[in-house]
Amino acid sequence: MKSKFEYNPVALENLQIKDPSILDRLIDTESVRQGNLKKERAKVDKRMTLKEAVAEYVSDGDIYADSGFSYVRTPLQALFEVMRQGKKGLQGIGSPNTNHSYGIPYGVFSYSHNSYLGAEMRGTDRSYSISVQQKKVDILSEWSHGAMALGFKAAQIGAPYLASKSMLASDMINHNPYVKVVDNPFKKDKDPVCLVPALHPDVVFIHVQQADKYGNARIYGPSVNDIALASACRKVIITAEEIVPESDLRNNTGGNIIPFMFVDAVVDLPFGAAPGNCPGHYYWSREFWEWGIRITLSGKSDEARDSFWNYWVFDCKDQLEFVEKLGGVRWIEQHRKLEKASNLTYEDDGVDFSYTSVIPKWD
């Protein structure tokens, strides 16, 4: 297939990309505009179940953006449903794109636009490392968080590209077909800048605290890249802790970040960010990641990995069953208290943030 864009040939060679047409959709702004012109104009009730939304809006091979930030307001339950429905061959993107590691062994994600994929304080995600070694995932581009964030921002503001001072002189320049280093045309002296094109993933789930049935959405806490992603992506699905009346968003405008017309579907999904943190609602389950890292991200064995994901995803009906497995009402009580002590008004003196093993032990 012939590609529509001029890519850095050195990067294509370094990344061993034989058919660059696979790269096109991410920067094909014109097709996004055409798609947006056909989106529903009227305010209609867009509510559906998570199962329906994933079935309808996630196609095999899509460029799938991670939103939130690793374990803060991240639509993890939507990601788990994508894994359960056995979607295949997705291109993972996001700054960071950490959570896409889980689906790689199952063929859910086959490509990575890599910015950061790791185990945070625990360092390297060895499961991802093994997947890269075994070619279960092909890296299509390497990014810094800032450069990728700028690509989403360019898409949001309708700019074909933005110029950045990130990435310059690094080896990522030659492992990213999309970016180009040029001289700043405004300066008389030589001044290299890195051009970052507008980036358009195919699909994004954004988990919010509140939305109305039309898709107007409000968040509390860091928005990270989500304001930009809601504009940049072809298909936008809101999963919400609470569906509120439209009047609530009209009367209280603080934190309203996404207008209804961007949104294709709205899912009423309390605990949609679990086991991560949903600011204002529940703290994150550090124990889940500590166990997960020990059992699956450690790359210990395929059997251990499968037992973990079978328990938490493939044999788990929905997010409510997931919360039952985390500890049910006791988990909810503890994580609501931790969240309020962490960021809101609960008395935090004496609240213990050290993590405890409330999850059945695995090893």
Binding site: Y116, V132, E142, H145, K165, S166
Partner: protein, 260 residues
């Protein structure tokens, strides 16, 4: 180890704290830089402002964050900013110092967090850049923190994620990068700076009991050694250690040695 003696990680955290001046805006990652920054705030630098990749501005300290997005990084912060703006903050001159870690560091302070071995046939695939490249490229001063071994301080990086002084001399500026680049490297052996002309790593001080020979044995390239006598790095007082152990990181997430 007796209570009055720092372990190597406590020593690192203390030296990090000493690099921070009062009233600075400090872009912190997790781990030891965070421990050091909070120690600085509790001792000689009470007026610093901590900012994070999560966009968190001036949060109130809480438990040690597990990642740069952790709720603690914007705990009760007056506001948070979008990710693109939290890096613009560095580009626009609202960050004085950023801390960096890496799997590999070379003699010019260039960093690798991508891969060990060949990119397409890696011995180990690492995380990638995250915000590391942005902070190295944009911040006025950066400080590198880590444990020093010949493997982690190689003559040549397997991949250059984050720019330091590139190939020395004026090359960083010519490449269009902002700021001064790395100004210090802090390890369990000593503190290093970069010689102003060649921009090569140079011993600045050595921790008690360390020698030039030990420092060189822990390094895969030739370290520059100053002509004058090399000072001994000051060590934490009993009060500094008490603060570290009881107030800054009471859960001992980052100052347990050997690491958990």
């Amino acid at each position: 180890m007796s209570k009055a003696q720092p372990n190597p990680l406590e020593m690192l955290a203390f030296v990090v704290a000493k690099q921070i001046e009062d009233k600075q805006i400090v872009y912190v990652g997790t781990g030891l830089p965070m421990v050091g920054a909070i120690l600085a705030k509790k001792t000689h630098a009470p007026n610093i402002t901590l900012v994070y990749e999560s966009g968190g501005q001036d949060p109130i300290e809480g438990p040690m964050p597990w990642s740069v997005a952790d709720p603690v990084t914007w705990r009760k912060a007056p506001l948070t900013m979008e990710m693109s703006l939290s890096f613009a903050q560095a580009a626009n001159g609202f960050v004085d110092v950023a801390f960096q870690g890496a799997a590999q560091i070379d003699m010019y302070g260039n960093l690798n967090t991508h891969v060990i071995g060949d990119f397409n046939k890696p011995k180990a695939r690492l995380t990638g850049s995250g915000g590391g490249n942005d902070l190295s490229s944009l911040t006025e001063n950066s400080i590198i923190v880590g444990l020093q071994t010949p493997e982690k301080f190689p003559a040549k990086l397997d991949f250059m994620t984050s720019p330091g002084h590139l190939t020395g001399g004026n090359t960083r500026r010519e490449a269009g990068l902002l700021g001064n680049g790395p100004v210090a490297v802090i390890t369990q052996v000593g503190v290093y700076d970069f010689e102003p002309e060649s921009k090569r790593m140079r011993i600045k001080s050595l921790h008690p009991g360390m020698t030039v020979e030990i420092a060189q044995a822990c390094t895969g390239f030739e370290l520059l050694v100053p002509e004058d006598e090399i000072p001994v790095t000051p060590i934490p007082t009993a009060e500094d250690l008490r603060l570290l152990r009881e107030e800054v990181d009471p859960q001992k997430m980052f100052i347990t040695f050997p690491p958990q």
